[in-house]
């Protein structure tokens, strides 16, 4: 399977490429949006700032091309900030319009007691189990201060509880997949999740 990983220097493209290559797929870093066409899976990874990332995607021509391909049915995986960009709007550093593929907003985690960012390994609770089959401990690595508030509960396929707050851990609608955690950084469970995803779209 050919996997195109969007490369606009907003985070750790290298780890995502290596995880897919470990699973013996052909993963390439794509720096030119016209090269996304023809990939079997697109991946949008990123950490960083919502408005900075959306600005770069728009300026470099990725935003329009990703929107076109996703609407044409190409599977896409968003990781961390990449998943948050699916929302209608993000509230980090002002208000930024997202892709709007999944209705909802991205807001700062509000917890009175817990440390922010939500940082480290936490247990993910699947709501729809298909992508989590065969996963041993279901612990994944998180690093985020903002979270996705889904307007449509059916889009949420897994949650995670941080202190007293339930957060969205994974979303799916049609060909659009998103994870708040970092599967490429989550050792065995992370690789298994990616394998399940690749098998489900194969």
């Amino acid at each position: 399977m050919k996997i195109g990983v969007v490369n606009i220097s907003i985070g750790n493209v290298g780890s995502v490429l290596e995880a897919f290559r470990f699973l013996r797929h052909d993963a390439v870093a794509v720096s030119d949006p016209t090269m996304l066409e023809g990939c079997d899976l697109l991946a949008l990874a990123g950490v960083g700032n919502y408005s900075t990332a959306m600005g770069k995607l728009t300026t470099l021509g990725f935003a329009a091309e990703l929107d076109r391909l996703v609407k044409a049915g190409t599977p896409l995986l968003g990781i961390c900030l990449g998943m948050q960009l699916f929302a209608d709007q993000g509230f980090e550093d002002g208000v930024t319009k997202g892709f709007g593929w999944l209705p909802g907003t991205v807001e700062k985690i509000s917890s009175t007691r817990a440390k922010i960012p939500h940082m480290g390994w936490n247990t993910v609770n699947p709501v729809r189990p298909e992508l989590f089959e065969g996963i041993e401990n279901s612990t994944f690595y998180f690093m985020h201060s903002y979270h996705f508030l889904a307007a449509n509960p059916e889009d949420v396929i897994a949650t995670v509880t941080y202190d007293d707050t339930k957060l969205v851990a994974a979303v799916k609608r049609d060909n659009v997949y998103g994870v708040q955690f970092h599967p490429e950084k989550s050792q065995g469970d992370g690789l298994r999740f990616l394998k399940n995803l690749l098998e489900s779209i194969a």
Binding site: S9, N12, P117, Q187, G190
Partner: protein
């Protein structure tokens, strides 16, 4: 439930891992960074933190090549630092694959730098590393690998770094570092209660029970391990088995 993190802390010197005591030599060679990282990844460490301890004094920053080699072979988060004092240097570390960057002297001397980093890369990617010594009752921060004393108190400095956008703090007791004599529990217990971001305790941890005490008596999110791992007969698997038996929430891996 979020697990307490066990983080091997790698000190890089001349491309090799080393370990000293209280920030001073003699530095013992403790191996190759890549092979050691692969071992701790396989054992189920939560993260690896790596700092080039010569970079600041040599006026450069940590080599991106070593970061890149590590992220190619390991499936766990890597934070890296040493000498980072410009946005371009931070960007080079992220481009090489670092998940987080560790800033010490460059940030402590100039918290405004943390603000710039957080705006560009997000607070969750910025770890402020602060070293301190006890002078009687006072807790005094130091920069430049423990050689430069700052004329201010530790607690307000940490608050200022968090306010500027540090997403996490590694707080190292220079007095305890490399001594295996136990962490400065009192400091971590009092400071973590005041900080809204995760705190990583570093310096002095030398036994299983040091970790039990740390996680029972303070709200630290993680502990950094040095000498205990690299020069004593401990490993991550046995550490976690012990902590699980003492009801400390750690991750099965």
């Amino acid at each position: 439930m979020i697990a307490k993190r066990i983080i091997p802390l790698f000190l890089l010197k001349g491309g090799r891992l080393v370990k000293g005591t209280q920030f001073s030599g003699p530095f013992v060679d403790v191996g190759d960074p890549l092979s050691q990282a692969m071992i701790y990844d396989a054992q189920g460490a939560e993260e690896i933190a790596m700092v080039d301890i010569e970079a600041t004094s040599q006026g450069r920053c940590i080599d991106a090549g070593v970061i890149n080699a590590m992220i190619r072979k390991c499936r766990l988060p890597i934070s890296a630092g040493g000498g980072i004092s410009t946005l371009a240097q931070a960007n080079a570390c992220f481009a090489a694959g670092a998940d987080k960057i560790i800033v010490n002297t460059g940030a402590v001397a100039n918290p405004e730098f943390v603000r710039q980093l957080a705006r560009e890369f997000g607070a969750q990617s910025i770890v402020a590393s602060v070293d301190f010594r006890r002078h009687g009752e006072a807790l005094v921060p130091y920069t430049n690998s423990g050689t430069t004393r700052l004329d201010r108190d530790l607690a307000p400095l940490l608050q200022e770094l968090v306010e500027a956008g540090a997403g996490e703090i590694i707080l190292t007791s220079i007095d305890r570092e490399g001594t295996l004599s136990g962490p400065d529990l009192e400091v971590y217990a009092s400071l973590t209660a005041k900080l809204p971001v995760p705190l990583i305790a570093s310096g002095g941890i030398g036994s299983y029970d040091d970790m039990v005490d740390l996680f029972r008596q303070s709200d630290c999110s993680a502990c950094a391990l040095g000498k205990m791992l690299v020069l004593r007969d401990y490993d991550i698997v046995r550490i976690k088995a012990y902590l699980t038996g003492r009801k400390i929430p750690v991750r099965d891996a």
